[in-house]
């Protein structure tokens, strides 16, 4: 059995825990419960006939109260950067975390997830910035942990990239 460590990174309140919960347990709660420290969940996916168990490290959000300890990233085969589509600032945090992650784990695969796609009316991320990131080779997926839209796709895309790397 192949086992891969995947880190969930992003600003506070972007929905990292909700995405893991949706992906692993097919559950969603509207109640925001902040993450302290880290929680590790696992889920097995089948990619090209091979079973890959993802160890999902749900790490507390980066904000003015806490900075993510880079030691959590050690050994990661890939990571998911999560931003909240209704808060442009979280995209900047995702960019900063990507630089941090790259310094620790190098050029491992990652996917940028723009969560809260169900709040399309409140979407505030700068489309030009997203185009630029896509041009730079970033894989972007719009998700909604609430409805489940795009969630499997995001994890599957990352797993496929990890398996191929």
């Amino acid at each position: 059995m192949i086992q891969k460590k995947i880190c969930m990174l992003g600003a506070t309140g972007v929905g990292k825990t909700s995405l893991v919960s949706r992906f692993v347990l097919s559950m969603f709660s509207d109640t925001y419960l902040t993450t302290i420290g880290v929680k590790v969940d696992k889920k097995t996916l089948s990619v090209d006939g091979a079973d890959i168990t993802l160890m999902l490290w749900d790490i507390y959000g980066e904000d003015e109260f806490q900075t993510v300890r880079t030691s959590y990233l050690r050994g990661a085969a890939g990571y998911i950067l999560v931003a909240d589509g209704t808060r442009q600032r979280t995209l900047d945090t995702a960019r900063e975390l990507q630089s941090k992650a790259m310094a620790v784990v190098g050029n491992v695969p990652f996917v940028l997830v723009l969560n809260k796609a169900d709040l399309a009316g409140e979407w505030r991320v700068d489309d030009r910035a997203l185009w630029k990131m896509a041009e730079d080779g970033w894989t972007l997926v719009k998700t909604s942990a609430k409805t489940g839209a795009g969630v499997e796709e995001a994890f599957l895309k990352l797993t496929t990239k990890v398996a191929a790397s």
């Binding site: 302290i36 109260f65 808060r87």
Partner: protein
């Protein structure tokens, strides 16, 4: 995790003490394996983690507690370079015996040439979580309010432009008096808006 000749009376006393305190005390042995100090049964949350990792099969400490993985790398460096001292790890959360979330914290200890790993329940975790929860909720609310304030600036600028345009047109004296009152109110509104918090760098409202 077998007994070794190095188990002493002090180890036994320590083991009883840590059992009462709901702490797991392990000694790191040569070769990287761990043995539990003493013969006391470890806490239920500890044995449950091993059972859940792979029931009926041999399980390593990291398989049972994957979050220890990164800490143990730091601990190895600490143990190699420290004769006496402690290294505190970050809290991690596991499922408790009652299905609840249980917060644990690892501590690496170096003492008299021996290396220990303690895993303990995080004291005051619920309070800490409550404080962070409140702080983050307030920060998110503040951010939302600032976004709403910022959303007012664009229509305000358009309204100011309309009033300026009116001022250049042919108006009767009574209309000029109304326009002067409108301008005065707009100035007051501008001063208030200028005093309110502005969006931080990188934050852009919809439509900008």
């Amino acid at each position: 995790m077998s007994e070794s000749p190095r188990v002493t009376m002090a180890d036994s006393l320590l083991a009883s003490l840590v059992a009462i305190l709901d702490i797991v005390a392990l000694e790191r042995l040569q070769g990287g394996s761990f043995r539990q100090l003493g013969t006391e049964y470890p806490p239920a949350w500890f044995t449950q983690a091993f059972h859940e990792a792979d029931p009926g099969a041999p399980v390593t400490l990291v398989q049972a507690f994957p979050a220890l993985d990164s800490f143990l790398s730091e601990a190895e460096v600490f143990w190699q370079g420290t004769a006496y001292g402690r290294l505190d790890g970050e809290a991690f959360v596991v499922a408790g015996p009652a299905g609840d979330n249980l917060a644990l914290m690892p501590i690496a200890v170096a003492m008299q040439g021996r290396h220990f790993l303690l895993i303990q329940r995080v004291a005051g975790f619920d309070e800490r979580q409550h404080v962070f929860q409140r702080a983050r909720e307030q920060a998110l609310s503040h951010e939302a309010v600032v976004r709403k304030i910022d959303a007012l600036r664009q229509p305000f600028a358009k309204l100011s432009a309309v009033v300026s345009e009116l001022a250049t047109s042919d108006l009767a004296e009574a209309q000029r008096a109304v326009l002067a009152r409108a301008s005065s109110e707009l100035d007051a509104l501008r001063r208030t808006l200028d005093e309110l918090p502005k969006l931080a760098r990188g934050a852009s409202p919809r439509g900008r």
